[in-house]
């Protein structure tokens, strides 16, 4: 998480993946993840094929492997959780390196790791090939309630401004010799958070004034419309369709 680095998530490029309309990409990624999640965990080869599919997409989008792998680190807390599963799960047990591990726990860990990683990788590919602004337009096109899209767009617009204010407050604290070291300093942090809230809320009120001063009456004027041709849709859905074939094979084999 890092609102301050929001723009660094996106890798500028002109690949075919970058060029797809945002809502087709969003829908495709969602469909892909749904397919992955509904694949039986016993079909290990299927997950291998999914990974190959994503690698292909990354190749077409010219997203370097290092970038993708670094972003996968967000998963780490859950890897830790998954590693614990074989120890604590129920049922039949096997001996591995002198430790008694649960069979179903091992399957569970594999299940979470495989599906979680594929899900994260797909989302990372989406975020690195689609600009923030486009993602919002895509969500709007996918019929997310307009008010929700507006809230999200204000959040993204002011995320940087507010994190910046927070950073300035920290610098101000530190230049007066304060450094948060333990529980005793929570009060100071909380005061900063309180001040940050007041500033954020007041800014919200000022933004609202600026909006109504320019004719806002409750709904955002339509400025951009994103549209997708049939070809673009089918191009975007090549990924989930291929995944679906793999998934069906996984169920039948």
């Amino acid at each position: 998480m890092g609102a301050g680095h929001a723009h660094k998530l996106y890798r500028h490029g002109h690949s075919p993946v970058h060029g797809l309309p945002p809502h087709t990409k969003l829908a495709a990624v969602f469909a892909f993840v749904v397919v992955v999640v509904s694949t039986p965990r016993e079909a290990m080869w299927a997950f291998g094929l999914y990974a190959v599919l994503l690698t292909l997409v990354a190749y077409v989008a010219r997203v370097p492997a290092g970038f993708l792998l670094k972003r996968l680190l967000i998963e780490v807390p859950f890897v830790a959780f998954a590693v614990l599963m074989p120890f604590v799960a129920e049922g039949e047990r096997v001996e591995v390196l002198g430790m008694s591990l649960s069979v179903s726990g091992l399957w569970g860990a594999w299940n979470v790791l495989a599906k979680g990683t594929l899900g994260v990788a797909a989302s990372v590919l989406l975020a690195s090939t689609t600009e923030l602004r486009e993602l919002l337009l895509g969500l709007q096109r996918l019929k997310l309630p307009p008010l929700l899209v507006q809230i999200a767009s204000f959040m993204i617009r002011y995320g940087d401004v507010i994190t910046d204010e927070m950073r300035r407050m920290r610098i101000a604290r530190e230049s007066r010799g304060f450094e948060a070291r333990g529980v005793r300093h929570w009060g100071v942090l909380a005061k900063s958070a309180g001040a940050l809230f007041i500033r954020s809320y007041e800014r919200g009120e000022r933004v609202h004034l600026a909006m109504i001063s320019r004719g806002y009456t409750g709904s955002m004027p339509v400025i951009d419309e994103v549209t997708a041709s049939r070809a673009q849709w089918s191009y975007a859905f090549a990924l989930p369709f291929a995944a679906l074939v793999v998934c069906l094979l996984g169920w039948t084999l």
Partner: protein, 352 residues
């Protein structure tokens, strides 16, 4: 704790997705009614605030630190509807942009972290504020308890979802122990920071704290009386509020009593373990043999016996049950008796 894809099975993910969508829809309507056309900029800014605050790490001890979840904070500062919206939007953006939390698990994440935290925190908060004497200190205390309960409540909600739709058959007792145990610790941090933050805001701009609106009206009147001639319309404006308060007082006291009973009494005095506890108790006996296997794992750090914790989780389940019921009740109550239109908003913050 953002749930990734593949953690909860497809039917439950879909079901929570529906629950989350419904709750967001209700919140959109509720927020619109409260904030009017100011909803988008204000909720957006508060969402950005929650997003920023989640990055504000507070040091717990040498080397470790925690961060706020923000559900309780949002609920108390801007109200439950806007709170649900803000936290949901934060989760949505974290899922899409940062891959933090799976896309198919979005329903689970929103249900646990946006809806349960906000609703539980707000219900507990309102109930306590009604019961406690009207003062700033009460607001802070109520905030503390509300935030403290909201975090393990979310953990418990997750445990319940896991019990129904988990993809690995770990005993529910264990999941509950781990989740609730850890989250009570997190909850203490969350509660302290939330209470101090709300306290700081109440001290400077009490009018901005949604949960303390009643308190503000009284304060304002007294301040006006002391400094300038009290404006004539002021008593007229407070009168209906007072009437409404007394009407609500009855059932809110009832709510508080039942919360206390459900929470604390079942925690201390349960001699007959109910279903959940029994499972956990059985597991506790079964798993003596494995405990050393997990001795090196972080789970061992929780260092609590299954039975005690099952009681705790039983108690919390009680609290949550009452909380959820009360909120459902409030919904009906409000639907039946439409709230009067929100008063005209004055942009006092921009005044010279």
């Amino acid at each position: 704790m953002h749930v990734p894809d593949g953690f909860i099975d497809a039917p439950i993910s879909a079901a929570t997705g529906v629950v989350a969508a419904a709750a967001v829809a209700v919140s959109l309507r509720g927020a619109r009614r409260e904030l009017d056309e100011r909803t988008a900029p204000l909720a957006g800014l508060v969402a950005a605030f929650i997003f920023a605050v989640q990055m504000l790490n507070f040091p717990v001890a040498a080397g470790t630190s925690g961060h706020l979840l923000g559900g309780a904070l949002a609920a108390i500062l801007v109200g439950p509807y806007t709170g649900v919206l803000c936290v949901s939007v934060v989760l949505l953006m974290q899922g899409i942009l940062f891959a933090d939390g799976g896309l198919t698990a979005l329903g689970v994440n929103i249900t646990c972290m946006a809806i349960v935290t906000t609703v539980v925190a707000y219900a507990v908060f309102r109930a306590l504020v009604k019961v406690l004497p009207r003062s700033r200190r009460s607001i802070t205390a109520a905030t503390f308890v509300a935030a403290l309960l909201s975090v393990p409540a979310a953990a418990l909600a997750f445990t319940l979802l896991y019990a129904v739709g988990g993809t690995t058959d770990i005993s529910i007792g264990k999941v509950a122990t781990a989740m609730v145990g850890v989250h009570i610790l997190i909850g203490i941090g969350e509660a302290t920071i939330t209470a101090l933050t709300v306290g700081a805001v109440v001290a400077v701009r009490p009018d901005l704290v949604y949960g303390a609106r009643d308190l503000r009206r009284r304060l304002q009147l007294r301040v006006n009386g002391a400094l300038v001639d009290a404006p004539a319309p002021e008593p007229a404006r407070t009168a209906p509020v007072a009437a409404r308060t007394s009407r609500r007082a009855l059932w809110l006291t009832g709510l508080a009593t039942s919360l206390v009973l459900a929470g604390f009494v079942s925690f201390y005095a349960s001699s007959n373990p109910d279903g959940l506890e029994k499972v956990a108790a059985d597991q506790g006996i079964d798993e003596k043999a494995e405990e050393h296997a997990a001795a090196d794992s972080p789970l061992a750090d929780y260092g609590v016996k299954d039975i005690t914790d099952a009681r705790l989780s039983g108690g919390l389940a009680g609290v949550i049950g009452v909380g959820v019921t009360a909120v459902a009740g409030t919904g009906v109550f409000r639907a039946v008796r439409r709230r009067r239109t929100t008063q005209d908003v004055s942009p006092t913050s921009t005044s010279v």
